[in-house]
């Protein structure tokens, strides 16, 4: 297996440099063979433009992996390469240890669910679900049993005789799910499958997909640009930006410990302070930055970086009355002006601005001090809750 895994991509041996900085040592080969899906240095070029640029990703068997990123970041292209709808320009692509870059789509034993459902309009739901079984030359009785089971699983048992045009969007997507799962593919790929549905239905189907994933135990690869969806569904998330993967990790890891400012800002809400690294001083493993006349302390340090950023989540910020003095040096405090106050039921959300125009978001519980628009306040947070990141000066002002 180790041998075939490497050989069919041009007789690559341990130590060979295949492309870019992908080198196949024994450990890498073992990793490839144990992975559900493995991408090593995978690149897709259209003309000169690399729309997927040298990505590495190891998806464990049975894992629910979400490819998350803004529109145009290369998620669909990556999924299409795994599915076999797009050629891999460069790099190694393995599914369950088998090199598949040269394998046509219909031989990859994957299931695929599309945003527009892609049900065959001239077939009933049952015929659609039977389609993948017919080619597999399964006994008729076994086919019927499987079809019934998978329609049951997506709660469409009564709709087998309907044509796709006679179903709602949510029902069509569930039929597509049944069709993609009826032959127990080891890998299920989904490209924004809930993108065309309204919020309520989307949330319900998210739960359904999660339940089905637990039931069937296949490897799921899910593409979305909706970070909430990614957080609620996934075991792990790969954050795409500009054809590259910025970070791979669990929702908690990405939310609490983003590696880059992009990841931090793409997942959830955040407030970001920026400062040149020339103002930074490091002591006891903490970095202190100057923000105007004030100082902000964050855990960790970053060297060899021109500009730094501190990211804090809204629920970790508090608002205090003017004149508030931090109790200890483990608390940061900055004066702000409240712009808007919004009641959320579970608490309040305040949009605030710093003296230098930096905006921030604060969430407080219902029993905290209330503020109104125009009020002066002090925003405070525990030093532990700040994340020190490199500020690449990207113009992505998505949180403001």
């Amino acid at each position: 297996m180790t041998e075939t895994g490497a050989q069919s991509v041009g007789a690559a041996e341990p130590g060979d440099r295949v492309s870019g900085d992908v080198s196949l040592d024994t450990r890498t080969i073992q990793q490839i063979n144990e992975a559900g899906i493995s991408l090593k240095g995978v690149t897709k070029r259209y003309g000169d433009k690399a729309v997927v640029d040298d990505i590495d990703l190891v998806i464990e068997p049975g894992e629910f992996m979400t490819l998350l990123g803004p529109s145009g970041s290369g998620k669909t292209t990556t999924l299409n390469m795994i599915a076999g709808f797009a050629d891999v320009t460069e790099g190694l692509l393995h599914i369950h240890g088998k090199p598949v870059a040269k394998l046509p789509a219909h031989k990859r034993d994957i299931g695929m669910v599309f945003q527009n459902y892609a049900l065959f309009p001239h077939m009933t739901v049952e015929e659609n679900v039977a389609y993948p079984l017919q080619r597999r030359k399964m006994p008729k009785a076994e086919q019927r049993k499987r079809i019934a089971e998978s329609l049951q699983m997506v709660r469409l048992a009564e709709y087998g005789g309907r044509y796709p045009a006679e179903l709602s969007g949510g029902q069509q997507q569930r039929a597509a799910l049944a069709r993609a799962l009826v032959y127990n593919p080891r890998v299920l790929l989904m490209d924004e499958p809930l993108g065309a549905l309204d919020k309520k239905l989307r949330e319900w189907l998210q739960m359904e997909i999660k339940r089905i994933h637990q039931e069937v135990g296949s490897t799921f690869v899910y593409v979305t640009h909706d970070q909430e969806e990614a957080l609620s569904l996934s075991d792990r998330i790969a954050v795409f930006n500009n054809g590259k993967i910025e970070q791979v990790g669990t929702g908690v890891e990405l939310y609490e410990h983003p590696d880059t400012l992009f990841v931090g800002r793409f997942l959830g809400e955040s407030s970001v302070l920026r400062a040149p690294s020339s103002t930074a001083t490091v002591r006891d493993g903490n970095t202190t930055l100057a923000v105007g006349d004030h100082h902000v302390t964050v855990p960790g340090e970053r060297r060899g970086v021109e500009s730094l950023a501190v990211l804090v989540r809204p629920e970790n910020l508090s608002l205090e009355l003017p004149g508030y003095v931090p109790a200890s040096s483990t608390e940061n405090a900055l004066p702000v002006t409240v712009k808007t106050a919004t009641y959320l039921g579970v608490g309040w959300r305040y949009d605030v601005v710093l003296f230098d125009g930096t905006s921030g978001i604060v969430r407080t519980p219902n029993d905290a001090t209330r503020f109104g628009p125009g009020d002066q306040a002090i925003v405070t947070w525990d030093v532990r809750h700040g994340v020190l990141l490199e500020d690449l000066g990207e113009g992505d002002e998505s949180t403001t």
Binding site: A83, G84, F85, P104, A105, H106, K107, R108, D109, I110, G111, M112, F114, N116, A118, L119, F120, P121, H122, Y131, P132, R135, R136, A176, R179, A180, Y183, L189
Partner: protein
Amino acid sequence: MTMKRVLIAFSVLVIFLLIVPTLVIVPISFNASPSFDFPPKGWSLQWYENFLTDREWLKALGNSVLVAILTAIVATVAGVLASLGLSRLKFRGKSLLENYFLAPMIVPGIVIAIGLYSLFIRLDLLGTIPGFVFAHTIVALPLVIINVMASLQGVDPRLAQAAASLGASKARTFFTVTLPLIVPGVTAGALFAFVTSFDEIILSLFIQDPSLQTLPVKIYRSVTQSTDPTVAAVAVVTMAVSVVVMLAAQLATRKRKALT
């Protein structure tokens, strides 16, 4: 309001002008006397009887039907394959190729006829069934391609991707997904091809020989050589066949709209 009435009157006039020369032939075909008099002085079915008992006419009818059916088959198969290539592949010069396939609709028939004539002399195809089928396929192909392309445009390319992900090869995908969805366009294309061949005269005049004539060729010869009203009966039958087939094609395309 008056504008609308003027337009309606104009439309009626145009329809009248279009249809009258065609319909004049119908009463003539029932003429009692052996002439092309209009209106006829008496009625009879003798010219139809003539047509259906004359071995030469029947032979020509048989040739026409055979050539039209073969043309429909060849043009449909070739047209579907060409359309699939044109719609699925993306390559430089694609629109050039598209125009190339449709060229027989624009190039004057006489130009194709002369070209074919000189080609067929060399290939010894004059007055042969394969020769007729080949010639008629040239002019029938664009009609098939137009109809099939229109049908293909309504087929979501992701259906083919879905079929592939479900384990279907390219061929299987075509026969189980694509083809069933474009059947109306293919049917319409085949019927158009049949009618085109059945009516074709320009190319046929050049590539016929006395041993093998199609119905339009025989009509033409008959009209220019005698005043036998049998030809009127033949013309009416030809027209009826065309009208019925075109109506069927209409129905097929209507079904296509209903499906999507």
